[in-house]
Amino acid sequence: MNSPLGARANSRSWIGAYLIACFGSAALLKRGIVSGWPGWGLFAASFLLLIPLVRSVERAQAACGINSVAMRTYNRRMVVASFAYVVLLLGGVAVANYFWPPAPVRTLLAVAAALPVMFMIRAMGLLIKEERDEYLRMRIVEQSLIATGFLLAATTLYGFLNAFDLAPRLDAYLAVPVWAVGLGIGRLVQRDASC
């Protein structure tokens, strides 16, 4: 699939498959439908889809003429951070469940699980800094602003729904995936007819 439309459709299929696998396995685990190690294994396996996903996204970007060095570096950083996240999260959960170490050790485990996510946020910042193409940089900044607006709006609305006992409490670390959804919305808003 060398045409921009074909490459883009292919990358969207992989993005869809990854989101379904990742959020689906997390939901199965959270609700206890697939619990214990099979559930965690399923969650970890869903991250393997990142490899074909990133390849298909890079092919789509190349077909659209936007496959810059900074973007490729960003993709690589995100994949590395994602795999580090899986390893540190699963390792942390295993240690916490089986040994229930004292609070300082659990604090370290929590920080270790959060670090790769912080590395992803840093990768986004570095992408804006390292992207030499001013038009692409402007698009990334726009996407980030749309994502931030989406996150603020969604968390404000959800916070009040929770305050009025209409929605359950959610974990704060969900802010990052919600922001990532906002990035996707930003890309849709920017939709480029030439590509």
């Binding site: 003429g65 810059s68 193409d133 001013e134 038009y135 692409l136 402007m138 480029d192 590509c195």
Partner: protein, 71 residues
């Protein structure tokens, strides 16, 4: 901002990809500038002008001058 980039490019028989390569920008950037969706920064506008060996005002039409100046 209106511009004559597409015409100047066509006169040299360059594709958008060729122009993007010469300017060291993405093909999508060239497309966005040509279609008026994006106004380049002053340094990039100067690079474009130098590449085509023309003054900036012959390539980009000031918004105050309207659309009649575009080739």
């Amino acid at each position: 901002m209106l511009n004559n980039l597409k015409v100047l490019r066509a006169m040299r028989n360059w594709s958008q990809g060729d122009l993007a390569e010469k300017l060291e920008v993405s093909r999508q950037s060239v497309n966005a500038i040509e279609t008026g969706k994006y106004d380049p920064s002053l340094p990039l506008a100067f690079r474009i002008a130098e590449l085509f060996d023309r003054p900036i005002e012959e390539i980009f039409v000031a918004p105050s001058r309207g659309s009649s100046r575009a080739i």
